[in-house]
Symmetry: C2
DNA sequence: TATAATGTCTCTAGCGACTATAGCTTCAAG
DNA sequence: CTTGAAGCTATAGTCGCTAGAGACATTATA
């Protein structure tokens, strides 16, 4: 049996976050000690690791909830899990594209400024005047 | 003089967002009509365009507030504006890197699953077992 | 000019995924 | 037995909006 601090250390999920996950219904309310403190089993530790991993990969709480539900029924088709992963993958790819466009615009703006005072600063001029942009965003 | 809806149309910033910016101190409270509705001048429209552009580039409200303050003093050195742009650029680049690592991890997970049922699903296995990862995240 | 339609007003609450704080109780080590 | 760390609940704050309610203002049409 582990205390909340122990599973926090082992999984890397912060203590208040664990309680938050419990509140959100991602993990069940665990047993309690005589003094009303949470006591977790290995199974619950594993679940929390699963959640941590999925969160690190950027999956939303809702998506993770779905995966947990799927995982609880090992004989259902796994198309659901596949779909969740692929949808998330698509959104990650989209986000990367967006950020890359921003990166090029921003680096152009940031490196173009050789002025000494704000009056002539390219950063501020570029932000004020959309026509200085190279693509539309 | 423009109504809030008119500057919303011209800048692409939604009406409630304009009021929110006013509340946050990004823009000053404008004049009011006899019936207590906001009335904006061209100058305020330009400022809002500036803000919109900076937000589209991902700058935070705080960073934009700093830029506006800088812009109000045209004879100060523009190192501040440069710093803000470059800091943001660095954080965008970092974020892109992170997302690219996620993308590769996630695409590996998503395309490896050929199982029919959850019990054998690679998506769920990979999320449960960190050792299946190719790099650490 | 009357009325209808649209726009605007303030205020409050909600989103997602936590994080922080306050004031208390319990636990483990010395 | 004392002390200090860890845990408890409950509430509020973060960011950048967005949505809704219910009232008032303005504009367009009949």
């Amino acid at each position: 049996m582990f205390s909340i601090g122990q599973i926090s250390n082992r999984t890397g999920v912060k203590v208040p976050t664990i309680r938050y996950y419990e509140q959100m219904g991602l993990i069940d309310a665990p047993e309690r000690s005589e003094g009303n403190q949470r006591r977790y089993s290995k199974k619950e530790l594993d679940l929390l690791s699963f959640i941590k991993h999925a969160r690190d990969l950027g999956l939303s709480i809702d998506a993770i909830r779905d995966l947990i539900r799927l995982n609880a029924h090992p004989d259902t088709p796994c198309a659901g899990a596949d779909r969740i992963a692929n949808e998330h993958l698509a959104s990650v790819r989209l986000r990367i594209q967006q950020l890359q466009r921003l990166e090029s615009e921003l680096s152009r703006i940031a490196k173009s400024c050789k002025a000494g005072v704000v009056k002539d600063c390219y950063v501020i001029r570029a932000l004020s005047d959309h026509s200085l942009c190279q693509d539309d965003h």
